[in-house]
Amino acid sequence: MGKGFDIVDMDSVDIKLAKLIGYKKVYTRNEIRVTEDQEYEGRCIFLGREPGTLGKALRRNNVDGIIIFDNELIRQTVEECRDNEKTLFIDISSLVVPEQKQRLRNIHRARFLIRFALRNRTKIALVSLAKDETGMLSSMQMLAFARFLGINDKNSEKIFYNEGMMH
């Protein structure tokens, strides 16, 4: 049985592949959408960079959590995320981009953001948000990524997106 859930930015995912790479289920964009649209009414993860819009999104029921654009550390938003019991998602696809300079900057920022979120007891989850099959990662790779981003062994088991469960 898989360990948790992953979310991808694709229309469909082979269920066999999802099980094989170690997930209970992989959500597609038809189920959970990553959006910048503040009016979107379906189940979604809100992507934004402004503390104001992120704060508003966190108070909406259809928003599962947020992704901060470029993994920038916005302390106020991370704290609001904790207070509203929403998840702070870390987009792994932005950490494996081909361009080295951008990749290193994103990794550094993600580390910083995760460290702050963990210290503030904010629920975090790593998601691949892959645009195609090559961008997906197995649960084992996700765990390796968690350790690489500075999450200790005790917490790294909890980095998968778990529906309805507190981390």
Partner: protein
């Protein structure tokens, strides 16, 4: 496991060069990764020195292209013996 079919005998150099790109020459020489077996067109085993398995797993996550061909890799299992991986490979269908 790769996202599409790969002949690791042909692509071995390219794959190992990509791993070296991500883990660096020093770590690469210490890890000494090599292809140990290929069980199907998508399933194969990478052998590495003890203690470097996480670096290899992570490096495989970054590789999205080999010699201009788009490809991704999934790490399915790590083990101390190749025999147990062979047993595992028979249980799964890839």
């Amino acid at each position: 496991m790769s996202s599409s079919e790969i002949n690791v005998e042909v692509e071995e150099k390219g794959l190992l060069a990509e791993i070296m790109r991500y883990i660096g020459e020093l770590s690469y020489s210490e890890a000494n990764p090599r292809i140990a077996a290929q069980y199907s067109q998508r399933l194969f085993v990478i052998k590495t020195n003890r203690g470097y398995e996480n670096s290899i797993i992570l490096a495989l996550s970054f590789i999205k292209e080999i010699r201009g061909r788009k490809i991704g890799f999934f790490s399915l299992k790590s083990s101390g013996t190749i025999k147990s991986l062979l047993v595992y490979s028979k249980k799964i269908t890839v």
